[in-house]
């Protein structure tokens, strides 16, 4: 099996994201994840730069790589043209593909996200749409959101939206064949295989937790 490092190097976002880090911390200084979590993108760059297989494996199994919020503020500042955010994307991809993601609490959440956001794409053609944002799990949306969902089509159509209707416009129901095309793209380009890897991780977890 190819080393983790060589698998990482196959991801274009790895070579685009990290050429040589000078350890200056300019990325961490503006990183919203570093402001909230005990997280440091500079440290990740340094660690990956050493190329140590054991360190890499620990990284892929650990919590840290899941802290990044992908705002890419780091890209605007790095004096070496590195993009810690891209590096994180490559690490997360490998963590899921290799199954290492199930070893971390944050990594395991990918299963939930995949079933929710991922499936929504192929079922509706949207990543997010109003009926997904249930007030029970989204209390932060406030009373106005409860009201908006209660009004549903009445409110949305008043604002010019098609709200799950046939035809044109915002929030329209996808025309026949559109979702088939999306699925064909996911099939052809490895999107579905990638999801299978996530589900394999879910299976493994189930096996490990069941008596």
């Amino acid at each position: 099996m190819a080393s983790l490092l060589s698998q990482l190097k196959d991801d274009i976002r790895f070579s685009e994201g990290l050429s040589a880090c000078m350890n200056c911390g300019i990325c961490t200084a503006v990183c919203p994840a570093a402001a909230y979590f005990d997280y440091d993108p500079r440290r990740i760059c340094q660690l990956v730069q050493t190329g140590d297989e054991q360190d890499l494996e620990n990284l892929l199994k650990g919590e840290e790589i899941w802290m990044c919020g992908q705002c890419l503020s780091c890209k605007a500042r790095c004096p070496r043209g590195n993009v810690p955010g891209y590096l994180i994307q490559a690490l997360r991809k490998l963590s899921q593909q290799s199954g290492h993601f199930i070893h971390s609490r944050e990594g395991r959440k990918q299963i939930r996200l995949k079933r929710r956001i991922g499936h929504s794409i192929l079922e509706t053609g949207y990543c997010v749409h109003p009926q997904m944002v249930e007030p029970e799990t989204h209390p932060e949306q406030g009373p106005v959101w409860v009201w908006a969902l209660e009004q549903g089509a009445d409110l949305y159509r008043r604002c010019g939206s098609n709200y799950y209707g046939e035809g044109e416009g915002g929030l329209r129901k996808m025309a026949p064949g559109v979702l088939d095309e999306l699925e064909a793209i996911f099939e052809e380009t490895g999107g579905l295989r990638f999801w299978e890897a996530i589900e394999r991780g879910a299976e493994e977890l189930k096996l490990n937790t069941e008596p």
């Binding site: 992908q70 010019g160 380009t189 490895g190 990638f194």
Partner: protein, 353 residues
Amino acid sequence: MTPLLWKDYQKEVPDNHYFFVRSCIRQTFFPGAEAALLDILRNSLGLDVFEDRRHTTCTGIAYHCDLVPLETIMTVIARQLSLMTEAGYRHLLVSCVTSFGIYLEMLDMWQHHPEMLEQTREALWKSTRRSFELPVALVHTSDLVYHLRKPIADRSPHRLVDKSTQRALRVVDHVGCHYAKIFPAGGFGGAEFPSVLSGLAETFGGEMVDYPERRHCCGFGFRHYLLQENRGYSLSNSRIKFESMEAFAPDLILTNCPGCNMFLDRWQYTLAEMSGKTYDREGKGIPVLSHEELAALMLGRDPWTLGLQMHQVQLEPLLDKIGIAYQARQKYSMLAGAASLPGEPSVLKVSFQ
């Protein structure tokens, strides 16, 4: 050396003929904003803006949750471009800032790695029998509104000025991270001082206020917002921004990203509930508008058709300052007649009729 300052950088924006792609988040939370934008472009300014009903999500949110491989999103983007090509357009108009960043990134990768463009063409053909041309212009809707700010202001009966005192309204902007931080050349003014919103507000007579955390991320964090237990990340980062702008007493927060627009609105409610604190003096919160919402208001569009009643922080204090007339009774009435009223938050003050 003659310095090239990004601050002064003007992006080239075509005057007409756009292929429009929507935003998942804007359609969900601010349906009136996209509708108003199309109405302004087509009906007030007479532009040709085409939408193909077969376009889909760009999958950007899932991509940034690391649920979609690069090759997959690239091909989904290629499919959108094939619809553009089929309709005979070469100018792409993007509503979402996440999408905008994705398009910029894919075009950049194809430029630097032509073999990936070929792979994408092949993958798209195999899966959908489609082919595509690259756009000659990639424009975010805020770019276009900024580009057209003068014709819009010329048609506008209002100004961003307190009508009773003639004081210019104090505006803070929050430009979505993926607008220009990834590719400075993709946005007006580059990564550090994007002028796309400040230029707009100033054209309408507002006073821009620079604040310490102006360039800090709103805290969407993709997976972090989408996972309920992780939302503290989003909330805490928005809080950093509110704390930082509070001292400058802004009348308005102006955004160009649908996600930021929603978060900066909703998190004011959430923080008020959690900590009892609001970031204005009257306990009503700081109103939040996106570029299309602002342009539509300035052009005299009806606030309730625009969907401003879907904001949790109420806009009436701002409308009153500007002197925009509105029918208070129409706010919660529906096509089918009068509707029920939303519930009242326990801290954030709302003005229900």
